[in-house]
């Protein structure tokens, strides 16, 4: 167990008095840090670990009757730290000012002592101040497990200067001692999630004579955690089905704060995160997604729909993701994307971003999309009018917990409040698609994104995709099944949300020279997805900003999985049609006699006019599928009386 000791800051310009006073207080177990000027004192109160401050009233000049620098400091600095005013020149006016709450909820000082009263009296006041105002449980036994106070402090405040890490770690320990003031022992268990300024932990607390309690503790930077508590109070439904565990207690220190939520009936020891379920239990994941949307989030939004009057959907999405166009370094983003593009050949993709166009070239085919970056900055009228619902904030795989009975527990309320109606769905799909999908096969990733952006909203053809891509697609399908009624018939607002999710990840991605292939593939996926959605968006904007048009050209066959793409669009063929096309494809640009087709494809051992008619009809059915429109390119040519020829790169002129 790490021991925490009461720490006092003693600010007095008299070295000899300060020395005597410090030595005396140290005899009674206090750690005393001495400072001699208001400036030193101010810095220590803002940065250091201080439980109580003793401030000399005349800190600059004992002979100056106008010097009330100690009192001025007490008024200005850190109201969370209780202060005692110490003086050789007591007056009823300075007593009054020390205790006066004008302009603040807290009085500048909790106590006032005349030096002439002696050190014993000062000690009494110090003890009383600790008892009444420093609400720390010094006797609490803390079992930190692997998440010790140093780890927690640096996790929520990365980049701390080494000389203050120890103070911050002490402050983090204080935070738990304040939060669990009425307990005897706590065990800090698993780290559930971690953001840049906050993290969530499972904590088990024991008080003598009571059964152990499971609590979910969110701790982190003070303002952010306090804001989360406020948002929880303002927006969380009181219904037990809402997955919003009751706020049990809060605590704060100079730099940190913590909110403890009572897990209620949830067995925190045995809950799993949504992402855990995704990884290992598909059925449980699907059920959890259903419960999450049909029950938990339905409780949040019940009867709380309203129309947003002033902001458009793109503005709301960007705000929700912290994607402020004014703060984005456009040149830096472009450099980052160009750098990414230069490294993609290692994954089998040659890409080029030039003149507003993103060209992707895989071995056998090429694609063209609009450059997605301008769309990050464009205003859009898509999704108007915007319907707002009450939402818990940003859902993710680690902040949604599921217990053994399939009940859902939400844990992150920093973004709780009104949000666009599709927000909860878009956020989870984005996480599945952009963060959980692991594939370095960019060709398949491209086709996956194309399927998710351009195919049927809820029905995907998963054939031909690796298992590593089928899994996220199935998960996305669950989310989309849940949102279908809300989103249909216009899915563009949904895709718009995903565009900003992809864009915000691209903007936030680190610009590093040494990305792993997996990281590179993830960024490429983000870029491809953003570009594909940009093409959708461009179709809804003015002609001047429309995309440079499609697309992959030609015919592509996946022989293993019987998949066919024509001009970038997937075509569904019967087995016989596929066999016929594959036969012609293998002999591309060559004449294939009708008799040959009858023997090799249709497998007629004997044939007459009837079988020949069947062969012509089979060709006709295939043509209807691969050349569906009058303006489709003519891939299959008929050499009358002789047979057929598959042309891989026919002219684009309309059919006659």
């Amino acid at each position: 167990m790490l021991m925490s000791k009461p720490q006092i800051l003693l600010a007095d310009n008299s070295d000899s008095f300060s020395q005597t006073c410090a030595e005396y207080l140290q005899m009674f177990g206090y750690l005393v840090r001495r400072v001699f000027t208001p400036e030193e004192c101010s810095e220590a109160l803002q940065k250091g670990l201080v439980h109580l401050a003793i401030l000399d009233l005349r800190m600059r000049d004992d002979k100056d009757e106008m010097d009330v620098s100690g009192l001025a400091l007490a008024k200005q600095c850190n109201p969370l730290i209780p202060k005692i005013i110490l003086t050789m020149f007591p007056t009823w006016q300075t007593v009054r000012e020390s205790h006066n709450t004008v302009g603040s909820e807290m009085a500048p000082a909790v106590s006032y002592v005349d030096k002439a009263e002696g050190l014993e009296v000062l000690l009494d006041h110090v003890r009383s101040a600790f008892d009444q105002h420093v609400r720390i449980n010094w006797d609490l036994e803390i079992d930190w497990k692997t998440n010790d106070r140093f780890f927690l402090a640096t996790a929520v405040e990365p980049g701390l200067a080494s000389e203050i890490v120890s103070d911050r770690a002490g402050e983090m320990e204080d935070l738990f001692r304040r939060l669990f003031r009425s307990y005897d022992r706590i065990r800090i268990s698993e780290l559930l999630w971690r953001r840049s300024d906050r993290l969530a932990l499972k904590v088990f607390a024991i008080a003598k004579g009571k059964i152990s309690e499971s609590l979910l503790v969110v701790c982190g930077r003070r303002d952010q955690v306090k804001n989360e508590a406020r948002r929880y109070g303002d927006h969380a439904p009181r219904s037990p089905l809402s997955g919003a565990a009751a706020l049990h207690s809060t605590a704060e220190t100079t730099h940190f704060a913590a909110n403890a939520h009572a897990a209620g009936g949830f067995d925190l020891e045995n809950v799993r995160t949504l992402k855990d379920l995704y990884r290992s239990e598909t059925r449980a994941f699907n059920e959890a997604v259903k419960t999450l949307y049909d029950q938990t989030l339905a409780e949040w939004s019940a009867g709380k729909k309203e129309i947003e009057e002033s902001r458009s959907l793109d503005v709301l999405y960007r705000a929700g993701l912290g994607l402020d166009p004014a703060q984005i370094d456009r040149a830096g983003l472009n450099t980052k994307i160009q750098s990414l593009i230069r490294r993609l050949p290692i994954l089998g993709l040659r890409a080029e971003l030039r003149d507003g166009e993103l060209k992707l070239r895989f071995n056998e085919s090429s694609f063209s999309y609009p450059d997605p970056t301008p769309f990050i900055f464009k205003a859009s009228s898509i999704g108007q009018p915007v319907v707002l619902i009450n939402a818990p904030g940003a859902l993710s795989g680690d902040n949604v917990l599921i217990d053994r009975d399939g009940r859902v527990l939400l844990t992150d309320f920093a973004g709780a409040g009104p949000a666009p109606s599709l927000w909860n769905y878009v956020t989870l799909e984005a996480e599945i698609r952009f963060d959980w999908t692991e594939s370095s096969n960019l060709r398949q990733s491209h086709d996956q994104e194309q399927c998710l952006v351009e195919d049927n909203f809820t029905r995907f053809d998963l054939h031909g995709f690796d298992a590593s891509l089928q899994k996220p697609m199935r998960a996305v399908q669950q989310v989309r099944l849940a949102v279908f009624n809300e989103a249909a018939p216009d899915f563009l607002p949904y895709h718009l949300g995903l565009f900003y999710h992809a864009a915000s990840r691209l903007v936030a991605a680190p610009f590093e020279q040494h990305l792993t292939n997996a990281e590179l593939a993830r960024m490429a996926r983000l870029l491809m997805s953003a570009a594909m959605i940009a093409r959708l968006l461009s179709q809804s904007l003015s002609p001047s900003v429309k995309s440079p048009g499609p697309v992959e050209t030609g015919i592509r066959l996946d022989m293993e999985n019987f998949n066919v793409w024509v001009d970038g669009a997937k075509v569904r063929l019967t087995r016989q049609e596929f066999k016929l096309l594959a036969y012609l494809y293998a002999r591309a640009n060559q004449l294939c006699a009708t008799s040959e087709i009858m023997e090799q494809v249709l497998e007629y051992k004997h044939y007459d006019e009837r079988q020949e008619t069947n062969a012509h009809m089979a060709i006709s059915r295939l043509r209807r599928k691969i050349e569906p429109h009058p303006h489709s390119r003519c891939y299959i040519q008929n050499d009358r009386g002789m047979g057929y020829r598959l042309i891989l790169d026919p002219p684009t002129s309309p059919k006659q």
Partner: protein, 130 residues
């Protein structure tokens, strides 16, 4: 707003002066320490004034009032302020300690400031986070 002066002399010049000075802010009523609760029902936010010269043990009275009504704002007024008595009054739970001035403006300004601020968080209350 009602001001409740405990154990004051209703007929004294000071009480009359105080009532006049506070008139723009509210009504001053005088009550015995044991009876004041009879008046508070009419004015739950009323300010309690204690004239230190009329009370034998100011700190004891403030402490007992604070115990009975933790959220009630209490002001001690005295003609002869000292730093020790001021400290004792605040430690007992007074929200302010005022000199019995004969300036209407000073008095009114002091009470306006007092009325503007909430009762401070008292030790032991949930609001208090050291």
């Amino acid at each position: 707003m009602r001001f409740i002066l405990l154990d004051g002399d209703e007929e004294s010049d000071w009480t009359k002066f105080l009532a006049d000075a506070l008139a723009p802010l509210g009504t001053l009523r005088v009550a015995r320490a044991g009876e004041w609760m009879r008046l508070e029902g009419d004015e739950p936010d009323g300010l309690i004034l204690i004239d230190a010269t009329a009370v034998e043990n100011v700190e004891e009275l403030v402490s007992s009032l604070r115990l009975e009504r933790p959220a009630r704002r209490i002001v001690v007024m005295t003609a002869s302020p000292t730093w020790r008595r001021a400290r004792a009054a605040f430690e007992a739970g007074a929200i302010d300690y005022l000199h019995k001035t004969l300036s209407w403006d000073e008095l009114r300004k002091a009470f306006e400031q007092i009325l503007d601020r909430p009762a401070p968080p008292w030790p032991g209350s949930d609001q208090n986070k050291g």
